[in-house]
């Protein structure tokens, strides 16, 4: 795993449908400056900058990292961009961490963002290519069949997705940065919303958000403030078209989890991890990832959700921040998971702090469930 690496600063913007008050550069600076302030540092103290975001077609700015370099204090420093679709926020943190673990730099600023309001993600994800049939379905239309297959194969009752939609939005009410704030949300409200891509209802879907998230990562000798220590990092990918591919519980996700657990000494994730921030953009992905990540046996994830184990007061809270279901600046969504995991073990998560959290999982996935990025952070040094 290399040298020790710590998160010493976290910065987030308020997530909204439209941040009309800031430019893209202003948006990323808002997060970066808050992360630096949290670490008690300035741009001068940073050795390198790693930027992540989802497809350029979302904002129509090609190679935005070049344009954003000086806005993020990267003039005269190494700067690079990461892109692994929806998992990019997580991958960005891991690329930054690898620069510390490899001994290349002492302090790295990692930043990820999306300004979805500049266009429309469904449009950008459904470019109708010549020679093909026109099925404009966006991300929801892509994932709905796999959720249907999960429901069939596991025999999960239809209300499980509703429970996650309610739980994550209630958690969001405790998070000042969260986009969706729906006081009084309950099962009846979720179930009264229309099926957008059956079996996915409107309120079982993530919002489209503008926002950015940033972290300052540090080597052991350069730590300032309160560190969250990195105990394991892993990325995996797999081809989207492959005969026999399990699209409900992809092998790449299982392998990625096994790798990160091995590094962190986790043998039973439900017992050894105190809190998890997992990329759940559609409510049914909570029980699906509970199984893929080994928190429950195959076909049993929905029972964990139904029992309340993943609620804020359960034994393994998932998405105490409100998760992707409550805030979704796509490129940043993975980094937010990683950052929220760090906040929990630093004890600085505010009203959504899980008492006594010492070990946390940050998770992101992207593409057609083909790209996975995970880390485990802890209060104690590895």
């Amino acid at each position: 795993m290399g040298n020790r690496c710590a998160v010493i600063g976290v910065g987030q913007t308020r997530y909204r449908s439209r941040r009309t008050d800031v430019s893209i550069a202003g948006l990323v600076r808002e997060a970066a400056l808050r992360a630096l302030e949290d670490a008690g540092l300035t741009f001068k103290d940073i050795d390198a900058v790693v930027i992540g975001k989802a497809p350029d077609l979302f904002e129509g700015v090609m190679m935005p990292e070049s344009y954003l370099a000086d806005a993020l204090g990267a003039a005269g420093k190494p700067m690079m961009r990461v892109h692994t679709a929806g998992s990019v926020g997580g991958s960005t943190a891991l690329v930054g961490a690898s620069l510390i673990q490899g001994g290349v730099h002492e302090r790295v600023l990692v930043v990820a963002f999306e300004k979805q309001s500049e266009s429309n993600a469904t449009w950008a994800l459904s470019t109708h290519l010549p020679f093909s049939a026109s099925l404009v379905v966006g991300a929801g239309g892509y994932f709905a069949p796999h959720i249907r297959e999960y429901m069939r194969a596991s025999g999960a009752p239809a209300h499980i997705g509703t429970l996650v939609a309610v739980k994550d939005r209630r958690n969001a009410l405790r998070n000042p940065y969260a986009h969706l704030r729906i006081p009084g949300i309950d099962r009846a409200m979720v179930e009264s919303t229309p099926m957008l891509w059956e079996p996915i209802r409107y309120l079982e879907t993530c919002p489209s958000s503008d926002g950015a998230c940033a972290m300052v990562l540090s080597s052991e000798s350069a730590v300032t403030g309160t560190p969250a220590w990195v105990h394991g990092t892993a990325m995996r990918s797999e081809p989207i078209f492959r005969a026999g591919r399990d699209t409900v519980s992809p092998q790449a996700g299982k392998d990625c989890a096994a790798d990160v657990y091995r590094q962190a000494g986790v043998s039973d994730p439900r017992r050894d991890i105190d809190v998890a921030e997992v990329y759940v953009p559609f409510s049914w992905y909570e029980p699906m990832w509970l199984e893929n990540l080994g928190f429950a046996a195959q076909g049993e994830g929905w029972k964990l959700t139904e029992s309340g184990a993943t609620a804020l007061d359960g034994d393994i809270p998932w998405n105490a921040s409100g998760g992707v279901l409550s805030s979704n600046p796509i490129g940043a969504s993975g980094l937010i998971r990683f950052a929220e995991a760090a906040l929990q073990v630093r004890g600085t998560a505010g009203e959504h702090q899980v008492d006594g959290a010492r070990t946390a999982l940050g998770h992101a996935y992207g593409g057609g469930s083909q790209f996975f990025a995970m880390w485990i952070v802890g209060r104690d040094k590895p």
Binding site: T20, G60, T122, S126, H128, L129, P130, F131, S132, A133, S134, L135, V136, V137, G138, G140, G141, A144, P145, H146, R148, E149, R152, A153, P194, M195, L196, W197, E198, P199, I200, P239, F241, R242, A243, G244, R245
Partner: protein, 299 residues
């Protein structure tokens, strides 16, 4: 009424128009306007009056004679909407009369805000002047005020020339004659469709094509209810279809069956467009329709 001989039109208009001496303060204000600047005057109490007066209207004292450039932007303090403009109005379309406190001024100026409907105006909104092309030293040198620029539209457009080559060309040539071409991996024996040159599992070459039937089984599907101008009419069913003899499902539209009757395991067959309409495109397959055979049990 006009036909009533005891009703007449009577116009009073001094030939050439009244002259109006401006005095030193208003004269300076209008001269500055002609030069596309807006000035106010400072009172003895230090307040900046815009438009300027020769006296402080609160105390009656003379003003100091110090002119201060203000604006050009300002903030709307209150407004009234004019849905039907009259001939003497500054704009010939609906607009708002507004009191605008220009930056650096202590009083508000009355002017027109170009806004198409009342929802576009609010107290506190930031506005900027639009200048007339030919200023003459008149308050109408400012044509109107408009909202601050907060957003632009970027004309981003890329155009490609896509040429179907390699495996795709082979596959589309098959589709053109109503045949679905796949290929079997030499090493792992999996059958891929559409035809591709290499196996994504083991990387081996797939040298030969294999004709597949246009029948298969729905493995799973979504019912799409979100309308999009480029998509089929909602609700439409997008399904993964495992063609008979293949090892990987294809995504396609399901038709000739109500959306709520589609099932996992349902047997389907391609519905091709008539031969004379066919091109080298997947649009050749209108959709897949149920065959009526018994469902295939899913593992």
């Amino acid at each position: 009424m006009p036909s009533d001989p005891l009703v007449a039109r009577h116009v009073l208009e001094f030939p050439g128009g009244y002259t109006r001496t401006t005095g030193p303060v208003i004269g300076r204000f209008l001269s500055e306007l002609r030069a596309r600047r807006i000035v106010g005057v400072r009172t003895k109490e230090g307040k900046v009056l815009v438009p300027p007066l020769e006296y402080d209207p609160m105390t009656g004292e003379p003003v100091t004679g110090e002119f201060v450039e203000v604006g050009p932007a300002g903030t709307v303090t209150t407004w009234a909407f004019v849905p039907e403009p009259r001939p003497g109005h500054p704009l010939d379309r609906p607009f708002a009369w507004a009191l605008i406190r220009l930056d650096g001024a202590d009083t508000a100026l009355v002017h027109a805000v170009d806004a198409s409907d009342p929802t576009k105006v609010r107290a506190g909104m930031r506005v900027w002047p639009v200048w007339n092309d030919r200023p003459t030293g008149h308050i109408t040198d400012i044509a109107c005020f408009v909202p601050e620029v907060t957003e632009i539209v970027a004309d981003v457009r890329t155009e490609y020339r896509l040429q179907a080559g390699g495996a795709l060309r082979v596959f589309l040539r098959g589709v053109e004659r109503g045949v679905l071409l796949g290929g079997r991996c030499d090493t792992c024996a999996k059958v891929y469709v559409p035809y591709r040159l290499t196996c994504p599992e083991c990387g081996s070459a797939i040298p030969e094509t294999l004709e597949l039937p246009d029948t298969g089984t729905i493995t799973t599907f979504a019912v799409n209810n979100l309308p999009d101008p480029r998509a089929p009419e909602v609700p439409f069913v997008s399904a993964y279809i495992l063609l008979d003899g293949s090892d990987i499902p294809m995504i396609a539209l399901i038709g000739d069956v109500p959306a709520h009757e589609v099932r996992q395991g349902m047997r389907v067959k391609a519905v091709w467009v008539p031969e004379h309409e066919r091109t080298a495109s997947m649009a050749n397959i209108r959709w897949f329709a149920p065959t009526g055979e018994p469902d295939v049990e899913q593992p």
